[in-house]
């Protein structure tokens, strides 16, 4: 299953609404990177409001995607991580230290704009 990536001005918006399996996660990573390459986007918001499980593999893919996008010149913000998911990640010992986060899509866009202006 492919995850749709929407373009809005210089930003890419992604809302993940399926239960991610490993294959779709890796597919998503490839799709996003090639989309950044093609569109020259400077900011990416990945909204996780409807994701109710993030295990260590998905967390690694997400963390990697943030680092990789950074290398390609696009800032990534993760938004809408659910409390239950956040607690599970902490229990797993995954802190996603260098990944910017925001409460929701709107805050995410504000954060991106601030970071890009700096």
């Amino acid at each position: 299953m492919r995850i749709p990536i929407l373009k809005l001005h210089n930003y890419l918006l992604i809302s993940i609404q399926i239960d991610l399996d490993d294959q779709s996660a890796i597919q998503f990573q490839e799709d996003l990177l090639s989309k950044i390459h093609k569109s020259g986007a400077t900011g990416v918001v990945i909204d996780l409001t409807s994701v109710d499980i993030i295990d260590s593999f998905i967390a690694k893919v997400l963390g990697d995607v943030v680092t990789m996008s950074d290398l390609m010149g696009a800032k990534v913000v993760l938004t809408g991580i659910q409390p239950a998911v956040a607690m599970t990640l902490i229990d797993l010992g995954i802190h996603l230290q260098d990944v910017p986060t925001a409460l929701d899509l709107e805050q995410g866009l504000i954060k991106l704009r601030q970071e890009l202006e700096e």
């Binding site: 399996d21 499980i53 295990d55 260590s56 690694k60 409390p83 239950a84």
Partner: protein, 133 residues
């Protein structure tokens, strides 16, 4: 031994199947949403380990009841190569597959009780229990 419910792990998609069934199972027992997420994540980690290292195996769920509390027991069984150094895999950040190395120690933290039995070239059995708070 009789298990109430089992899921075979043969392909990658079975990982998602196992955690969905596990989550439903946990909800029926009476776990809150946060613990449901913890249990589902633990199942995901265990199922992935089976898929990655043993190829095939199964995940079983059991309701356990004691005098004043209920819980879920997740049993992950495979006939894979076994784990050579259990103390090593229980260390944070140790990985032979390029992952985060958060799997087994993570499962231990997500659940209340954790027990692992492994014999080289024979297989591994992991039991993890979570109690309803």
């Amino acid at each position: 031994m009789e298990f109430q419910s089992c899921v075979n792990i043969n392909k990658e998609w079975d990982i998602v199947g196992a955690r969905q069934i596990g989550r439903d199972f946990a909800r029926k027992i009476g776990f809150g949403t946060v613990d449901q997420a913890r249990i589902a994540t633990a199942i995901s980690e265990l199922a992935r380990n089976i898929y990655l290292y043993a190829g095939t195996g199964k995940i079983c769920f059991e309701t356990i009841e004691e005098i004043d509390h209920k819980g879920i027991c997740i049993i992950a069984i495979d006939n894979g190569p076994g784990i050579a150094e259990i103390s090593k895999v229980m260390e944070d950040g140790y990985s032979t597959s390029g992952g985060l190395g958060a799997g087994l120690p993570g499962v231990k933290r997500l659940m209340d009780d954790f027990d692992i039995v492994s014999e080289q070239e024979k297989g591994t059995e992991i039991r993890a229990v979570k109690w309803v708070r």
